[in-house]
């Protein structure tokens, strides 16, 4: 039965660490000895209004933590643990929690509502708590229910709706929940706290209302109540009602038409006159409508304008009122909004929405915005100049180049001059606008650019001067240089235009990165990232010498980070960030130089020193590997090829460390990629390390804690290893193939309703095929027969996937290739298998009919391989 734990709960919050630790240990012990009794005791504590608020609060938190965790695996374990508890305990706990909803102490009610929702999320999908909804609804209909109970009940309903899927409830229950919630919003009957709870509950219940929104009467009623609530006297309730409208805009776009006139008036009043919290939601409503219509346009048939869902063109219809409303918001800037990342205000929301409107309606936005721009750009109030510039920058994406080009040409000089404006905001926004212009209207590769050889010099003079401006301005200037450089990537003869300026661009970017007046690290990382883009997009034949000089400069800086005094964890973090940026630059330089034979030597000459630096960067940390250094090493292995062998003895420990880092799964994923690079670089020289690598990869693969996104790359990596070491892979075949077959089985069990899982399944499939391809090709010349026992399984798996309509292009390509590999490697041995696999012909002809050249080529090759087997 329940134990008396109040003292422990209070002591566990003591200021005295000794008392605290002892109490925590006691609680832990109770929990471990008798979990059901412990949970019951916590519930008893929570329900008891005599107990101190502090002990009840902790009791609630401990209950919640016994049922839910952020980490998915732990969460699953906790759910199993709860389900395993004796039903008599569970019903007592649930009963006590429901009783707590009537507590006069708001905090106890609130905690209880959350815990009930957690239990509901475990039990309702299992149909184990059928009476929950009924008893909650009962609270709402009892005449004598206190407002506090109704408020807590509505809150609970909202949380329950958020936790479970609408498929877990039958329609009658959904209807009853919605009725209770919508009635709770009724002004005449309820107090403000009940109405607020009801409105917030509706927000969570909206996803449940699919059927109700299809029914015109029910929909009209819900919409009427929400719109009325949006005019409540209490600002919090208005805000909550607008939040519902935002959610309705994206969830029920297709039924909104009859309400749009009302909604326009409602939102436009809010934008013009309401509190900012409400006005922000009102703007967000229109942003959400834009999101919907942009998405609809993307899926529209470009010829007929048809799509499965109708596009009502609300934005187009509302544009002449909507755009002026948004332009007005632009003048409500805050003084320091460009310096403070946490600010989100009406002018920012309005400008963002204007950008979305431009993307939605295209050219039509231009005549609505340009008069505002022209009227304000020359005014003496900086707010006007900034708003005008921001409006102009916002509409650059969406309208056609034909429409924009004359405007940009006409305003270009003005913008360049505005980089010398007296106001920081104006310069910030001007630099941002320039970066948008370069991003969207500067593409020499396709033949259009607002930049000509004639004005390039002027542009760069201005940019390289403004990069010395305040950090926020300098950061935006980096963005402008970034897109300026990007435009010249693969731009044929035009790519030479930037080459003469490269030395000074690089010098200024390095200077910006070194600035000491930088508050955060934003400008520094923007400068290095821009440097990366400049290097990536440069014309390698003309600039190799300049980049060759950059290489030692960056190496020097990376060397300096190793000398930094590290006292605090803050210092360590700064060091790590700086190393990340510099390793990033090195990675880009290595990749750039290894792209041509002529420049590869720059890397080969310096590879030893670079590698020493990377190893020292690794050595800065004891337990984790530096992700960026790992990424750069992959590029180095690719560049050096077999020469990389000499670094392996030293590097191997970090490779191991990276493969074992299941918590920072990105690091693990990158390391897996580097294993592939190393295999391709070393070929059979990687053999001495393969036992270790394979066992770590196999471990990682069976580690349920490891983020699943790393698993497909590991399978592909089997193929890389096999291809590198050929017949020596034989000893890994039983293990690797078992994993591959299990992964194949797992593919079949994925939920094919979930788009993310469909994607994941496809990645898994491609990777399984890549693994087979690598192994088959690796064995081809010598021990192909090792794979014979797996041939039939492979063909069956391919057949299964051939018939799966979720299969994407990459899977198809990998599947076709692996069939060819099977025929190629095993030759006449597979004759009967291929003869019996009638699906092959259908698969081949599907691929040969494809529009994808690469796929057709692969299929042709495979066809040749199979034919060779069949005539053998």
């Amino acid at each position: 039965m329940a134990m008396e734990i109040t003292q422990f709960l209070l002591a566990a919050q003591s200021a005295d660490a000794n008392i605290r630790n002892e109490a925590e240990a006691n609680l832990r012990q109770l929990q471990q000895q008798n979990l059901p009794g412990f949970l019951l005791s916590l519930s008893v504590e929570l329900v008891n209004n005599e107990k101190p608020t502090e002990s009840r609060r902790l009791a609630g938190i401990m209950l919640k933590n016994s049922l839910d965790a952020k980490d998915a695996t732990t969460k699953e374990d906790l759910a199993k643990q709860w389900l395993a508890i004796d039903i008599s305990y569970k019903s007592q706990v649930k009963d006590l929690l429901l009783r707590t909803l009537a507590s006069p102490v708001p905090e106890a009610r609130h905690t209880s509502a959350q815990v009930i929702a957690k239990i509901a999320s475990i039990e309702i999908p299992q149909k184990q708590w059928p009476e929950l909804i009924r008893s909650l609804l009962n609270n709402m209909t009892q005449q004598d229910s206190l407002a506090a109970l109704k408020q807590a009940t509505l809150e609970t309903l909202g949380y329950v709706c958020e936790e479970i899927s609408h498929q877990d409830l039958v329609q009658d229950e959904v209807n009853a929940v919605l009725t209770a919630v919508v009635q709770g919003m009724n002004l005449a009957e309820h107090s403000a706290e009940v109405r607020l709870a009801a409105t917030r509950a509706l927000y969570n219940a909206l996803d449940f209302a699919l059927t109700n929104f299809q029914n015109e009467m029910e929909r009209n009623y819900i919409m009427k109540v929400v719109c009325e609530t949006a005019k409540s006297k209490e600002v919090e309730i208005r805000q909550a009602a607008f939040e519902c409208l935002v959610s309705i805009a994206s969830t029920y776009y297709e039924v909104l038409e009859p309400y749009m006139q009302t909604l326009f008036e409602l939102t436009s009043n809010a934008v013009k006159g309401d509190e900012e919290a409400v006005a922000l939601q009102a703007v967000e409503f229109w942003s959400s409508i834009c999101d919907e219509e942009i998405e609809l346009q993307e899926f529209e048939n470009p010829e007929t304008g048809d799509s499965d869902s109708p596009n009502y063109h609300f934005i187009e219809k509302a544009r002449s009122s909507l755009v002026p409303m948004l332009l007005e918001t632009l003048l409500k800037q805050e003084e320091d909004q460009d310096q403070d990342d946490s600010i989100w205000n009406i002018s920012m929301a309005g400008g963002t929405c204007l950008g979305l409107v431009a993307r939605t309606v295209g050219d039509e936005v231009v005549p609505l915005v340009m008069p505002f721009v022209e009227a304000n750009i020359v005014k003496s109030d900086w707010r006007c100049r900034e708003a005008a510039t921001y409006a102009f920058g916002s509409v650059l994406e969406g309208p056609t180049i034909d429409k924009l080009a004359p405007l940009v040409h006409a305003g270009f000089d003005f913008l360049l001059n505005a980089m010398r404006d007296e106001n920081n905001h104006v310069k910030d926004t001007t630099a941002w606008t320039l970066s948008r212009i370069f991003e969207l209207l500067h593409c020499p590769a396709t033949g259009f650019s607002v930049i000509s050889p004639e004005n390039l010099q002027r542009i760069l003079t201005v940019l390289l001067e403004s990069i010395k401006d305040a950090p926020n301005v300098a950061e935006k200037v980096c963005g402008a240089i970034y897109y300026l450089a990007q435009g010249y990537e693969d731009a044929g003869p035009s790519s030479s235009l930037l080459s003469p300026y490269l030395t000074s661009i690089i010098a200024e970017l390095l200077r910006a990165a070194d600035r000491t007046d930088v508050g955060g690290s934003k400008l520094r990382s923007a400068a290095y990232e821009t440097l990366n883009e400049v290097v990536r997009c440069s014309n390698i034949t003309e600039t190799s010498q300049i980049i060759a000089e950059l290489l030692p400069a960056i190496m020097g800086r990376l060397g300096q980070t190793l000398e930094l005094q590290i006292v605090s964890s803050d210092d360590r973090e700064k060091q790590g960030d700086l190393q990340a940026s510099l390793c990033g630059v090195l990675q880009v330089i290595i990749q750039k130089f290894s792209s041509t034979d002529a420049t590869k030597s720059f890397i080969l000459q310096t590879a030893d020193q670079i590698m020493v630096l990377f190893l020292r960067v690794f050595a800065c940390r004891s337990s984790t590997v530096h992700e960026e250094a790992m990424l750069a090493i992959g590029a180095l292995a690719y560049a050096t090829g077999p020469e990389f062998a000499k670094y392996m003895p030293e590097f191997y420990q970090y490779l191991q460390m990276g493969l074992q880092n299941s918590e920072e799964y990105q690091v693990c994923a990158i390391t897996v990629g580097v294993v592939g690079d190393v295999c391709r670089a070393l070929d059979d020289k990687v053999l001495p390390f393969c036992d270790g690598i394979m066992s770590l990869l196999l471990n990682a693969l069976s580690n349920s804690q490891l983020n699943r996104s790393v698993k497909p790359p590991i399978l592909s990596c089997f193929g890389d290893i096999a291809l590198a070491i050929g017949v020596h892979f034989e000893k890994y075949v039983p293990h690797a193939l078992q994993m591959m077959q299990e992964a194949a089985k797992a593919c079949a069990q994925l939920d094919m309703e979930d788009e993310e899982l469909i994607d994941y399944g496809n990645q898994l499939r491609s990777s399984i095929f890549e693994a087979y391809s690598g192994i088959l090709q690796g064995f081809k010349s010598a021990r192909a027969e090792v794979m014979m026992p797996y041939a039939q399984h492979l063909l069956q798996f391919i057949e299964l996937i051939f018939k799966d309509n979720h299969r994407d292009e990459n899977v198809t390509k990998a599947a076709v290739a692996v069939m060819g590999d099977l025929a190629d490697a095993l030759g006449p041995n597979t004759k009967l298998l291929f003869k019996d696999s009638s699906f092959c012909n259908d698969f081949m002809s599907e691929c040969l009919r494809s529009d994808d050249e690469q796929l057709k080529e692969t299929a042709g090759w495979t066809q040749g391989m199979i034919n060779r087997v069949l005539v053998s």
Partner: protein, 448 residues
């Protein structure tokens, strides 16, 4: 519980480079993986067998003098695929390329089932070469490995243009004849296409692929900035009466140099193969009978043989074919050294055949062959252009009887042309419908 975050990206940070670098790395890695697997696929066994299994090398018509490569590939070049080979430099690369073409034998008699198993087409006159497009450029190499042209082309990876499919492995190898007059590469076979090896595919498949793929790339279009030479396919016919007649008689945009016959089932076999045959007469070639450097028909058929240490005369085949021997005294008197290449004319005694095989021949010594010439005849074909008339030591002509242990198709073909040519009518007759009736088992040897 909490409504979704209102904040949207504002003056969206222009750059999120780390993710970009990660993605670019992933892209590079998966591209490299694809390339590596692709390369493994292309290392089809036959590509690498650089030693010719068919020692009977068939000379080709080469009007211009050129140095001849050494035949065997050194150990260095043994295990290379075409991409690695393209990185070789200097003599190595020439050595490698020299051994990569499929060389037809001369048609001395008509193969069985000609109409069933063979294609026929008119061979363009010109320079036989291997065209490789890769890494944004195209290189054509003649049979001796020397570069004919280095040029941009519309072939995949053949020019530095923005080609989305232009992966590093997307190279092509075409077997071509460069026709000077219209500056066109006539593609007579496709060896690799977009990195896929077609070595192991039948001629039937290769020709199908060639015809369906080449035009798609725009390689057959008129020359342009990124496409310096036009490519063209040649009309290939089934070798029935109609096809044979078409190939023989129909006009083509190029000067014909005989007819080529390709066995439909044969794979691309580097070096000489009896599954590709060449035949010519005066009507379909102006070069039926060997000519000198001025294009004049020689009065006598000539052959070049290598003098061995023991005085034996051999062809340059591997293994060498002993043609006969010179007596020691003559060698001494003429100051000849072993390894010298000597030229002989076939005298009036001619060649004697027994059962269609050369048994005995009447050879007259003409003199030393030009030093630049590295190969004995019958492999390299009789390019008399190497020997200026002044060099011919006519006074030392020495008649000698030579015993021939093996007959060389070239020698025989040339001899037959002069004496008992295989006529077009004979070919036509062999594919006559009545011949179709016979139900011979297919005895085509598959090259595998």
């Amino acid at each position: 519980m909490a409504p979704h975050d209102l904040r949207r990206p504002f003056k969206r940070p222009a750059i999120s480079d780390q993710q970009r670098r990660r993605e670019l790395s992933l892209q590079r890695q998966s591209q490299n993986r694809r390339d590596a697997q692709q390369q493994a696929r292309c290392l089809a066994s036959s590509v690498l067998s650089l030693q010719s299994q068919y020692p009977d090398p068939v000379p080709e018509l080469e009007i211009e003098p050129e140095s001849q490569p050494q035949q065997e590939a050194g150990p260095l070049t043994k295990d290379l695929d075409i991409r690695q080979a393209s990185k070789l430099r200097g003599p190595e690369v020439r050595k490698w390329f020299a051994s990569q073409l499929m060389l037809p034998e001369w048609m001395i008699d008509v193969p069985d089932r000609l109409s069933h198993d063979w294609y026929v087409f008119a061979r363009p006159a010109g320079k036989r070469c291997m065209v490789v497009s890769s890494n944004g450029t195209t290189v054509s190499r003649e049979r001796n490995g020397s570069i004919l042209h280095h040029f941009p082309s519309a072939l995949p990876s053949g020019a530095r243009t923005k080609d989305p499919s232009g992966s590093a492995q997307s190279y092509c190898i075409l077997d071509c004849i460069f026709h000077e007059l219209d500056q066109t590469y006539y593609v007579i076979d496709m060896v690799c296409w977009r990195g896929y090896s077609l070595y192991d595919c039948t001629a039937e498949f290769r020709f199908f692929w060639l015809n369906s793929k080449l035009a798609e790339t725009g390689a057959c279009d008129a020359p342009s900035h990124y496409h310096k030479f036009r490519f063209s396919t040649v009309p290939v016919y089934d070798c029935d009466q109609r096809g044979l007649y078409s190939a023989y008689i129909e006009s083509v945009p190029y000067a014909k140099d005989g007819l080529l016959f390709y066995n439909k089932h044969a794979h691309y076999q580097t070096g000489n193969t009896p599954l590709a045959l060449v035949w010519k007469d005066e009507k379909c070639s102006q070069y039926v009978i060997d000519t000198d450097s001025k294009g004049q028909v020689l009065s006598q058929q000539q052959v070049v043989l290598e003098l061995q240490e023991d005085g034996k005369l051999s062809t340059s085949d591997d293994p060498p074919v002993i043609f006969g021997c010179l007596d020691g005294e003559f060698i001494q008197k003429s100051g000849l050294q072993s390894g010298s290449l000597l030229k002989f004319a076939i005298g009036n005694g001619g060649l004697s055949f027994v059962d269609g095989k050369l048994e005995k021949s009447d050879l007259n010594y003409l003199g030393k062959s030009n030093r630049a010439r590295m190969f004995a005849d019958s492999y390299s074909k009789t390019d008399f252009g190497f020997m200026s008339p002044a060099e011919m030591l006519r006074e030392s002509i020495c008649p000698c009887e030579l015993y021939v242990s093996i007959c060389l198709d070239k020698v025989i073909f040339q001899y037959m042309v002069r004496h008992t040519p295989l006529k077009f009518d004979d070919l036509l007759a062999s594919v006559s419908p009545s011949d179709d009736e016979e139900n011979k088992p297919c005895d085509v040897e598959m090259v595998d």
